[in-house]
Assembly symmetry: C2
Homo-oligomer: 133 residues x 2
């Protein structure tokens, strides 16, 4: 029998067995990305101290940085009041979390002067072709 | 006909018409909460400058602070690279985002000394019975 330990049983995974996880820079609080975890990804994250997610597109564990080298060293893990969102405080290898080569995935800012529009406001730090080669 | 404006059509709501939204303190970067928005909630947030969510439990718009007074003044709205997560940078009225009376909903920290366990590490700032009366 494969009973979940208490700490893991207290996490409310959704009907697909997943929970959203926010990665936040442990040093300055910047939000780097949001991805999904299943119980195995969360367990491995705790065990190894490196962020592991569940890739919904590839339907497999995604050891962040496995291709890019942009691993995330986890300093702290938090759970919200409803137990349905995880927060990771991380140190981001290479200073780049986003597959576009930017520090953070949240690089589009809503410009509300006049008709609203999304504007890319953060720089690309490294060409993605150099990251995934 | 009720066509969405471009900026709203670019947002990838899920199969239920919802998108997760992170509220982050604009001043110090603390993550306060995560809730859901539909297109109407996001539009009203942009129009009014106050955070409006979609309550999945009540199945209606949730004007944050409508009962508690703990409104969120929105300073900035961001969208991630996949356009499926919203980030709000807010000023939190009363300094309390969580219905438990804490500043942030992420008050449970995983203690990994020995067998992991979730520990409530942040103080209750106000008795919820005093907030929702």
């Amino acid at each position: 029998m494969n009973t979940l330990p208490d700490w893991l049983a207290q996490v409310r995974f959704d009907e697909n067995g997943l929970i959203p996880a926010i990665a936040q820079d442990a040093a300055d609080g910047a939000i780097l990305m949001v991805a999904w975890m299943n119980a195995e990804a969360l367990s491995e994250t705790v065990r190894t101290g490196l962020a592991v997610y569940w890739s919904r597109s590839r339907q497999r564990l995604w050891r962040k940085g496995e291709e890019s080298g942009h691993q995330q060293h986890v300093h702290e893990i938090r759970l919200d009041c409803d137990a349905d969102v995880i927060l990771l405080k991380v140190q981001q290898n290479g200073g780049i979390a986003c597959h576009t080569g930017r520090r953070s995935c949240f690089f589009q800012r809503l410009d509300t002067q006049g008709e609203p529009s999304w504007v890319k406001v953060d720089p690309v730090l490294k060409d993605p072709e150099q990251i995934y080669k």
